[in-house]
Symmetry: C2
Amino acid sequence: MKKISQIGKASLGCGPLIQPLSETARPLRQQIFERVRAAGQMARVQLAKELCISPASVTTITSELIDTGLLEEVQTTREGEGGRGRPAVALRVRPNTRHVVGIKLSDREHTAVLVDFAGNMIAGEAIPRSPGAMGIDGILEAAERLLHRVCAKGGVDREAILALGLGVPGFVDSEAGVVHWSPVLSDRHVGLQAALRDRLGLTVFIDNDANLVTLAELWFGAGRKLSDFAVVTIEHGLGMGFVINHRIFRGSRGMGMELGHTKVQLDGALCRCGQRGCLEAYVADYALVREARTALNLPLGETQPVGVMLESLFDHAKAGNAAARSIFRRAGRYLAVGLSNIVNLFDPALIILSGERMRYDYLYATETLAEMHELMLDTGRDGPRIETHAWGDLLWAHGAAALALHELTEQLLGSTREMAAQ
Amino acid sequence: MKKISQIGKASLGCGPLIQPLSETARPLRQQIFERVRAAGQMARVQLAKELCISPASVTTITSELIDTGLLEEVQTTREGEGGRGRPAVALRVRPNTRHVVGIKLSDREHTAVLVDFAGNMIAGEAIPRSPGAMGIDGILEAAERLLHRVCAKGGVDREAILALGLGVPGFVDSEAGVVHWSPVLSDRHVGLQAALRDRLGLTVFIDNDANLVTLAELWFGAGRKLSDFAVVTIEHGLGMGFVINHRIFRGSRGMGMELGHTKVQLDGALCRCGQRGCLEAYVADYALVREARTALNLPLGETQPVGVMLESLFDHAKAGNAAARSIFRRAGRYLAVGLSNIVNLFDPALIILSGERMRYDYLYATETLAEMHELMLDTGRDGPRIETHAWGDLLWAHGAAALALHELTEQLLGSTREMAAQ
């Protein structure tokens, strides 16, 4: 018996034809845009087939999307049909007319990318910075400087930028545009979206690290093939993103998925957020560094950059230092707890591990995954697929750009008719 | 800025009218049925207003639903319009023509209810049993006996039963109809749905406890007012259900939401599932009973029923026995960890606590909720509303009936036209 009660499966299969409805029409426009975007290019007949809708409906809706500049036609040859090469027309996202900028603020550097509407990167930029929290003014200035530099580098006029996506680590209410806590911000509950919009005179969207990576995967990575997956980011913090039915799920009220701050130990290790026992306090880089002082026998007064300390810890572990090894081992075991909790709660088909710290993986990767499987329910099925994605340095900024593209297209798709009438 | 990227919000608001589409038509039929069911009764004009669709569309779709016997018209008077009392027509779920039975198998008793299609209870039945796992034959026999008895009691012919919903504790793959592990079943990976269908000659649906309570809430409780909520059940085990946008979410592959088996302690207490450190191993009744022996200083050989032992432990705690109090206190603290993890991941607006054990709540309720708030992220917002729902003994069976109603209507709503043509 096929059940259709689950989210993510509700839109499978073709039902009988019924009356028109306006409300559900918006998702269809989005579905068409999403499929074309994900596939790179796609013919109308294929869209009709995959979405179980009439060719006439596809023609109507894609005409609107073309009129508003979201899609365009592209000449193609039909491959795989005996090589006749008869010319055909496909649709693709129209890349050139619109641009967005993505900026990621983090502890060690600020990064920015300039992309077109199809997600192609025009230019990228990185500015190193000294670690620590900044005031709102410092944040605004850094964002403005990066915006100017990346536009100049890409040869794109600032006026041609449609929107800015900005990512910060920490607790971000994306809908309200408020950063409740971030290691890069010295204040709590900051209305960063509005402040940035006023400063730059641009449409601004903000979100946290993990959602950025998830959006980057949704737009440019795994989302091109899969409708449902989880992303776990391990870096200076530990984050999670979750995609159900081609859309990011942020929790019922928009502030969920804080895997790094789920508790794995009552009265456990102290976390940056001020609470105890958070998963992040066992697996994030600052957690490792904290114990590295002990393992490496460093004098209390001596300070080293986080990266240097981690490299040193890593070298010692490889060389057989038992204390150093036990630090990675413990982090790996707690990571296994966190991953198994995700599996037991969300039952994803794929978990993507992402982030700079993943390169220390091989020290404990096999054991960690084995431990995760031991902590998962025995359902007689295979566990989720685990992939480690090594994105480049500009991953986060790319994610911020995906945020801007995502929000912008949601807005555009929600008001196609109004736009077409202009 | 209003974001529409989140699940559960995607269907809010009225978009512009576009072409008909078959795929999304199915959800609309379901939406109409769901609203009428939730409201008890509702006028067509109100449906059109709430769903942002044309009155003509409502008329077409509701006609189909009436033709297939899912809805019926009911005479009503318009209230609140100056008391003119002009007669009007509303729609309601047609209760009488179809019946389903819900059965819950558990450790201490088996229960059953017979309900009509509007969810009204016709008859209920409970059979006590001695605890312990049973073979598949024992399960099938118990279910058959209960089905006969509840039908006889309700004066409904067995042939008039359209489907049976069956709930068992443990890991249930509802879609595949397989029970992977259950304390009431001596075998693992049992195809219970097919076995029961063959034995009874009835359409059968199976699911686990927590999803049953969630479906009961969705059909007969909180779901009448709210589109999104979480349910946590505490009884012989610890379970969770999650409703997003009026629908139950079981995880991407249908086996998620196993809160009781998320790990809250590395190498922690032994759980019934065979693993260590599961939340359930700290808060379920068997976990309390395990330590009760020590606290109450019971001889190792002496066995008492779980209920008796818990009552005794409870009395001792009330009387000031420090060891007994510490058992409840620890359970409460771990429960706080579990609840805060739900909040940090799912960010629900409401968490419903349900289950027999909730009556021990007042021993630690205030402290537990205070602790939960301390473990939640500081987002500057209120936490979720917490409600304790005290359902009667037949809650679980009612949930099993809701499962049957839910699955059956999903099937009926998915094939309305075909049915109408018969």
